[in-house]
Symmetry: C2
Subunit: 151 residues, 2 copies
């Protein structure tokens, strides 16, 4: 899980968009900035709220459009944890996600989906895979252990 530069230069965004036949726009820049600032896997609605605080006229439809555009050009990934809203992640390395049932946070896990390939039946070709884990993160597990031994 290598860390990426905190701020991706606009030039990079521009080039990536152009490579997919998409234009650089202030809204797309803003949405990407939101995702890079706090890498906490926000939902589209959370992205909307954060983006709106900087850019009050942005609309929900545009946030969805921008998230799509950024996903298309390979700067962002959609993450599906529960059955609820999709989340967005700017960490493009091959990794998995863990959602803590205690604090609700989604953690990046260094488990490459590439590692699953050997388990496939002969002849199957994987184009994409997703691993989602649920449980207690280290902090919450410690707290819950402490709580139950205290009573």
């Amino acid at each position: 899980m290598k860390s990426e530069r905190a701020t991706l230069p606009d030039r990079e965004l521009n080039d990536r968009l152009a490579a997919s036949g998409l234009r650089f726009t202030a809204q797309r820049q803003q949405v990407l900035a939101v995702l890079l600032k706090r890498r906490d896997h926000p939902t589209a609605e959370e992205v909307f709220i954060r983006a709106k605080s900087q850019m009050p006229d942005i609309s929900m439809a545009t946030v969805y459009n921008c998230l799509d555009a950024l996903t298309q050009c390979g700067l962002v990934r959609q993450v599906h944890m529960d059955r609820g809203a999709a989340r967005y992640c700017p960490n493009m390395s091959d990794h998995s996600h863990f959602r803590c049932e205690g604090c609700g946070r989604v953690h990046d896990i260094d488990l490459a989906s590439e590692a699953l390939r050997p388990h496939l039946p002969r002849g199957f070709q994987v184009s994409h895979s997703e691993v989602s884990l649920h449980g207690l993160c280290a902090d919450c597990a410690r707290n819950s252990a402490a709580r139950s031994s205290a009573k």
Copy 2:
């Protein structure tokens, strides 16, 4: 991935339901029968259509209720592949799913989520995990290879 008996006796269903404080009903029996008959991971709507052909008065709300009840008492699992409708699987062994982008079928894959545990950071406790794979199944991969070499 051991195969289960094609028809689970009603007695078993009754016992499992009772163990969760639920009653045996004709609708729950019918919904389970649908899932056991064709183990093709149908959505709630597909279950509804199939159940309705045998039991014309059953409603969608009841199908959801029955699927919940069967999930609760451990006879059925929800499977989440795309962002769309949840699917239902009566294979309770620890396995994963592969959705073929060619034929749309969902295949059971003998990949225990238990196998992922060693990859977790120290202190994390997993209560549940799900692996979903996408690509081409052996049949579709073969067909697509044949098609592209023919042209």
